[in-house]
């Protein structure tokens, strides 16, 4: 294989993995809990800006990541308690309220940091030789971290008691309550984890992408496309969706153009909504 193909394949894998990481949060919040959180992308933005703060305060990147998780988890808890729970039975109002929240966060960030792009240095610089091509080390490290993280998550979800209890609470809340599981608390914790995960994604991606107040919207849309294609409520659906959307985007973007890549993904999603609205591997 020539180096161009290898690079393309690496880009493809990178893209699919990043998409999986980003869509995971919405997969939990919307796919599992059924909450349409229009501010999901803003949690990613907050994570990225946590790294900006860390950089300005001149502390290690590790603290930045911690800050990202802390901020998004706290905000997530407040949102779940005061916005999501009261509006549980009115999904359109949840959509509106979270859209309002996303507006607030974007304007807030713009007010504090301004509209310009922020620059975060990569913690692992340079490139590594892999499969006889040079590929940025940070990306490789990130890909490895994501694979490990998702594996651990998958195993946890499948085999741990907490994971089983969560699965049970979501699938059959009445029976779960009868057994003594506090379903409300489960839902709250799952929501907080879902948004914190997206915040973590933001912190990890910050050195690689454009960091600006509006960055979250593209990630919200990307996650949405993944869920539409892959289906709601399962990890395998998430991978399937990320695989298809990620590959399509990378391949079309490379062959033609970035914009055509986006157009291809959008057309694919509309097609799925039209013909197969539950996605490929729906659990609902």
């Amino acid at each position: 294989m020539d180096s161009a193909t290898v690079t393309l394949l690496l880009n493809l894998v990178y893209h699919v993995l990043v998409l999986s990481l980003v869509a995971l949060g919405l997969g939990v919040v919307f796919g599992m809990l059924g909450v349409m959180n229009m501010a999901q992308g803003e949690f990613l933005t907050l994570g990225a800006y946590a790294m900006v703060v860390a950089q300005r305060m001149q502390i290690a990147a590790g603290w930045g990541i911690l800050l990202a998780i802390l901020v998004t988890a706290t905000l997530g808890y407040l949102v779940e308690r005061w916005l999501v729970r009261p509006l549980q039975t009115r999904p359109l109002d949840t959509l509106l309220a979270t859209w309002g929240l996303s507006l607030l966060v974007r304007k807030g960030i713009e007010g504090v940091f301004g509209r310009q792009y922020q620059n975060i240095p990569q913690q692992i610089g340079g490139s590594t030789q892999i499969f006889s091509v040079d590929y940025p080390s940070y990306r490789l490290a990130l890909m490895l971290a994501i694979v490990c993280g998702l594996l651990v998550l998958g195993l946890w979800y499948k085999h741990s008691t907490a994971g089983t209890r969560l699965k049970a609470s979501v699938a059959n809340p009445v029976l779960a309550q009868a057994i003594g599981v506090d379903v409300k608390r489960q839902a709250c914790m799952a929501f907080v984890c879902g948004v914190a995960c997206t915040g973590l994604a933001g912190a990890l991606l910050a050195p690689l992408v454009r960091v600006e107040p509006l960055m979250g919207i593209d990630y919200l849309l990307g996650s949405f496309f993944v869920l539409v294609v892959g289906g709601l409520g399962s990890l395998s659906g998430l991978f399937a969706g990320a695989g298809i959307i990620g590959s399509t985007q990378v391949l079309v973007s490379t062959m033609l153009d970035q914009t055509y890549g986006y157009l291809a993904v959008l057309t694919l999603s509309i097609g799925f909504l039209w013909l197969r609205p539950h996605g490929l591997l729906s659990n609902r």
């Binding site: 304007k107 849309l221 914009t259 509309i270 909504l273 039209w274 197969r276």
Partner: protein, 596 residues
């Protein structure tokens, strides 16, 4: 009533016209020019209000259609300077956005029978794509710097006379929307936002209604874009992208999404204010975001609704949340035209289930269910919980997909058709938990049922359609007196029992040839149950229809019908007269549970 309504509308419109026309004389041409731009945004916002406030789904990318109209018109105006024939293509700047909107809405709404977040997110994605394309194709659109040097439209000087053309568009759009809102179509739109599922069971293809309304909103946006290009002389990707789309939603929400005046108020009020304050006070936009959240949570009607409340309070009238038209003075009756027979056979209906099975994840909901109804009359469907009674209704009306088997209505194979198709084929359904249009008055609920399978498209735009009456309606109002006494009460404020009776009335008014009634007496007192049963028996015999009634109360079963179908574990266990069922050891075993 038509006159009263029109008088109020005309008065409002004239007031608006007077205010707007006065502006360049009261202030100056420059202020009018500024206002003109925001009036155009206002027209787009009116489209957002139509789709969101009236029909209940949220478009997050409306600027796409505005921008499309603007770019189209801009390009045509530039090139028409060399080739005058291109002027003829200008209507495309209105038609293309409308067609695109219709197509997208039909595709997105096709797969699911109620709106969800999908539509909002797809429109968001489209506006992002639009901005990307506008930035990218520099040759066509001028890229980031935009399409410049657009000439003005004809002789209209963009800093003076153009303003009046804009005002004309605003008045046209406001008049059109105000008129539409108070037609029967406007009531149907409102019904969609309240209970879309129910409306489908009256034979209305709600996905097409939604797509049509969305197309109208896109046409309005496109027209505004057209004039924008001529007025500004420059169209940048800002006109098609996310920022403007988001602002449109905010303006509509804060101004008031339930009517065209509110949307205008929002765009002009908040929009103009923002453009001045944005530079001065850096936290203005955060305040606006907070205002938006407050409106969504506490004042869904926006400023317009608050002003209306204040006005009515001053005039000491009670304010209700039910929007639009005033109470109608008594009008002469109009006999409704007959039911449209969309390819139906005439005569009594033959219903046949042929080995219908429904399998979900290893569970058999219906297990080779076969039953046949040959003659008109009332039949009862009984059986233990989980026997498949409601599921059989669901599979017949397209709410449950069958795994195998077929269903026939007369000679027509009707397996797998959608709910609205089945309703148009003459199948009426009443739900176990009464499902009505809570925010509409009792009268409007009944009217919608009357229009079912009767009103043609043209008639939905005529106000005389509201005056239709039928014999069945007279009969129902005599029995259920509250239908006339509490005609203007919102259906959501009726008691549970009254809602049951209202829903039964609505189902009967559509004069279906096959009636599916799911526990019509649930929650009714003894007296009310008697009334309900009487109405069912009499109405069914008058209409010559067939009714299938799911019931648990054996006393009710006895009075309703002589023929009974017993379902058990998704199959037909036995059928015959009630007496035969009572004497059958097979049936008793299922009920008395002794020998299981």
């Amino acid at each position: 009533m038509a006159y009263f309504q029109t008088a109020k509308q005309v008065a409002s419109l004239l007031t608006l016209a007077a205010c707007l026309v006065a502006v360049p004389f009261v202030t100056n041409d420059y202020r009018a020019y500024q206002l003109g731009t925001y009036l155009l945004y206002g027209v787009v916002a009116q489209g957002v209000a139509l789709v969101w406030g009236r029909l209940g789904f949220l478009p997050l990318g409306q600027a796409l259609f505005f921008g499309l109209g603007a770019y189209f018109a801009g390009l045509l105006l530039i090139h028409a300077q060399d080739n005058a024939l291109l002027y003829l293509l200008l209507p495309l700047s209105i038609l293309v956005p409308a067609l695109l909107a219709y197509l997208v809405a039909r595709l997105v709404f096709a797969g699911q029978y109620i709106s969800g977040p999908n539509f909002s997110l797809i429109t968001l994605a489209l506006t992002m794509l639009g901005a990307q394309l506008a930035n990218q194709f520099t040759g066509l659109t001028g890229g980031f710097n935009g399409l410049a040097n657009i000439p003005q439209l004809g002789d209209l000087d963009r800093y003076s006379s153009m303003y009046f053309l804009i005002v004309a568009l605003v008045l046209l759009s406001t008049a059109l929307l105000s008129w539409l809102y108070q037609t029967p179509l406007g009531t149907l739109w409102l019904a969609i936002s309240q209970n879309e599922n129910r409306l489908q069971f009256f034979g209305f293809a709600t996905d097409r209604l939604k797509a049509g309304a969305f197309a109208l909103s896109a046409a309005l946006a496109g027209s505004a874009g057209f004039l924008y290009a001529a007025q500004q002389g420059l169209v940048t990707p800002q006109a098609i992208g996310f920022q403007l789309s988001a602002e449109l939603v905010i303006w509509t929400a804060v101004g008031g999404r339930f009517g065209p005046y509110g949307a205008l108020l929002g765009a002009v009020g908040i929009g103009l204010l923002s453009s001045d304050l944005r530079e001065i006070w850096v936290h203005w936009e955060v305040l606006v975001a907070l205002l938006f959240i407050a409106v969504v949570l506490y004042f869904p009607g926006g400023i317009a609704h608050l002003l209306l409340n204040a006005y009515q309070f001053i005039n000491r009238r009670s304010s209700t949340h039910v929007p639009a038209y005033a109470v109608a003075p008594k009008t002469p009756d109009l006999r409704a035209p007959p039911i449209q027979s969309y390819g139906r056979d005439s005569g009594p209906v033959h219903l046949r289930f042929d080995n219908v099975s429904v399998q979900r994840n290893e569970v058999s909901i219906l297990n080779s269910l076969s039953l046949a109804v040959e003659h008109a009359g009332v039949y009862c469907l009984i059986g233990p919980n989980g026997a498949g009674k409601t599921s059989s209704f669901n599979v017949l009306t397209g709410r449950l997909a069958r795994t195998s088997g077929d269903i026939f209505l007369g000679s027509q194979r009707v397996t797998g058709h959608r709910a609205d198709f089945m309703a148009r084929a003459g199948v009426g359904r009443k739900f176990q938990i009464p499902s009505v249009f809570g925010g509409l008055s009792v009268t409007d609920n009944l009217r919608i049922a009357l229009w079912s399978n009767r009103a043609q498209a043209r008639q939905l735009l005529e106000s005389t359609t509201r005056q239709w009456r039928t014999d069945i309606l007279d009969f129902l109002e005599n029995t259920f007196t509250f239908l006339a006494d509490q005609a203007d009460k919102p259906a959501g404020e009726l008691s549970q029992g009254q809602r049951q009776m209202l829903e039964l009335s609505m189902t009967l008014l559509a004069e279906p040839r096959l009636l599916l009634l799911d526990e019509p007496c649930a929650g009714l007192s003894t007296v009310e149950t008697q009334q309900q049963i009487e109405v069912i028996v009499q109405a069914v015999s008058r209409l010559g229809s067939t009714a299938l009634v799911i019931e648990h109360d054996m006393a009710a079963v006895q009075r309703l019908s002589n023929e009974v179908f017993v379902l058990h574990q998704g199959q037909l266990l036995a059928n015959g007269t009630l007496k035969q069922m009572q004497d059958s050891p097979l049936v008793q075993a299922v009920y008395a549970g002794g020998q299981k």
